[in-house]
């Protein structure tokens, strides 16, 4: 499916990162990065394994704390706000994990209900059912409602993982390797779903991947993370219009024989 032109508000930065640094022991993963995510935009972060792509979105969602620098999400500094404010902020951020992270002991219905019941006090049974059916319909998996996660395929698990984040109507979506480990057809379906979410839920998204097809199909902008810094940021074509030996192999591996 062809990606529709997104309505991006370049005056509204939903995520603003300045001079962000993060180390694990002696290993400096992020070395002073700057990044803006605009309202309505799909931003793809590309990079080799272990370059800190997942660390970046965990810092944005407050799962990790930065060593240095600013991480401003929806106008809040994620590193300095109180625990209560952070919990409130997280509800506005959807996070789709690499391995889907579905709760093994719960059915699909319970997986989807869980964040809703815990965060919306006084919600009625009818409202819960309506929301669950709505997000399941959005990801095209209404028939799986009573299944356990162990009964789902990899692609279905990814979709349910995305549905679970959509149920809280997030303003920002984080996708961690959304197409990792999936067959090419399912990858295309997931890429289409990411675009549908952008259109239908009016979300701004950061998509972490090293799958260039995913980057090309979903990204309004692409940022290439190399050696702990964003070396190239721009449209897909702009980023790969280079002879940089650290960038070119990515393109060649995916698109040339």
């Amino acid at each position: 499916m062809e990606k529709q032109k997104a309505k991006i508000d370049l005056t509204n930065e939903v995520v603003k990162i300045r001079g962000l640094e993060k180390s694990f022991g002696d290993y400096d993963v992020l070395r002073g990065i700057d990044l803006d995510l605009y309202q309505g935009e799909n931003l793809v972060v590309l990079g080799r394994s272990g370059t800190g792509k997942s660390v970046l979105i965990k810092l944005i969602s407050g799962l990790l704390m930065p060593d240095k620098g600013l991480v401003e999400v929806l106008g809040h500094n994620a590193a300095t706000i109180s625990q209560r404010e952070l919990e409130a902020l997280r509800i506005r951020i959807g996070f789709s994990f690499q391995n889907s992270a579905l709760y093994d002991s719960m059915t699909v219905r319970k997986n989807l209900e869980f964040p809703l019941v815990r965060n919306r006090k006084g919600i009625t049974r009818a409202e819960i059912d309506k929301n669950v059916e709505s997000v399941l319909d959005a990801v095209g998996l209404s028939q799986t409602i009573n299944q356990m996660p162990s009964e789902l395929s990899g692609g279905q698990r990814k979709r349910i993982g995305i549905a679970r984040t959509l149920i809280l109507n997030p303003e920002i979506m984080m996708y961690d390797e959304p197409t990792a480990g999936l067959d090419p057809i399912t990858c295309i379906e997931i890429n289409d779903l990411i675009n549908e979410v952008q259109q239908n839920y009016n979300t701004s998204s950061i998509i972490i991947t090293h799958d260039l097809t995913c980057a090309k199909q979903t990204g309004d902008r692409v940022a290439m993370l190399l050696d702990g810094q964003f070396q190239r940021v721009g449209t897909f074509e702009e980023v790969f219009a280079t002879d940089d030996k650290r960038v070119k192999p990515f393109y060649d591996y995916n698109f040339t024989e």
């Binding site: 965990k58 409130a88 997280r90 996070f95 994990f97 709760y103 093994d104 869980f114 815990r118 965060n119």
Partner: protein, 269 residues
């Protein structure tokens, strides 16, 4: 291609390794302390997750029932059988019910229950939460604002603190039943006589101490299992370590607490 770098890491001396181990130990103690404090802070705040507490009580209590019953009965029979020759040599066989009840009520019932629960329930909690940590399910709860500590840790610790005293009480009666069957088969003592003799030497402090022990053991098993699982390292190895750590640490602490509570109960007699 970059040239290879030669890096020589200094080998740490024995003193610095010992220093490192000691500081790691105290760091771990601090983390456990912080974990317990967090439990008491969060357990009082809503939501109370009553359904999940009941589910966990079922998981920890009812699922251990068969094993606990079998073990309790065998402990009662074996203890009675092994104690008989010593009492017979003093001509004090009639004291057998009292001896059995004192041993079971004061020490064996809570201890045996706690050791079985540490193995079965503690390891299960450690492995389950460890697996949830490794597969990012706990992170998923965290990012959706659903307070995983409250939902996963508080409910399990409350469940073990409730069910293990109940199981210990049940084990005490099952073990006494085992003792009675053995005494009845050998000495022909009636049930009523056995029970009268069994409960005659026991005081309120004995019951209280036994129950307190079981409550403390239950809390310990729950908190240790949750701590190990919640803080599991990445990878499948981390899950195994969490399960193993939950059992070993809980058993070790149960023995230490046994000694301390016996000592404290002694001051009230």
């Amino acid at each position: 291609m970059n040239t290879t770098e030669s890096t020589t890491k200094p080998v740490p001396s024995r003193l610095s390794r010992v220093r490192g181990s000691v500081s790691d130990f105290f760091l771990m103690l601090y983390r456990v302390y912080a974990f317990i404090i967090r439990f008491f802070k969060e357990v009082l705040l809503p939501p109370y997750d009553l359904k999940e507490i009941v589910r966990q009580c079922y998981e920890t209590g009812v699922r251990s029932f068969t094993l606990i019953t079998l073990t309790g009965f065998i402990v009662g029979v074996i203890f009675t059988k092994q104690s008989r020759p010593s009492l017979t040599s003093f001509g004090a066989t009639s004291w057998l019910p009292s001896l059995v009840s004192i041993a079971i009520m004061k020490a064996l019932a809570p201890l045996v229950t706690a050791l079985i629960a540490a193995g079965k329930v503690g390891s299960s909690i450690g492995a389950e939460l460890g697996s949830m940590r490794v597969t990012e399910q706990i992170d998923a709860m965290e990012v959706s604002g659903t307070k995983p500590f409250k939902f996963l840790v508080c409910t399990r610790v409350i469940a073990t603190t409730i069910t293990i005293p109940l199981l210990a009480t049940y084990v005490a009666f099952i073990a006494l039943l085992g003792g009675y069957l053995n005494v009845s088969a050998n000495e022909g003592t009636t049930y009523v006589t056995f029970m009268e003799q069994a409960f005659e030497p026991l005081t309120f402090v004995d019951f209280w101490a036994s129950l307190s022990k079981a409550i403390v053991f239950g809390f310990t098993i729950g908190i240790v299992g949750c701590y190990q699982g919640f803080n599991a390292d990445k990878g499948t190895e981390g899950v195994g370590k969490a399960a193993n750590g939950a059992v070993v640490t809980a058993m070790f602490l149960v023995f230490i607490e046994e000694v301390l509570i016996v000592q404290i109960a002694g001051w009230f007699r």
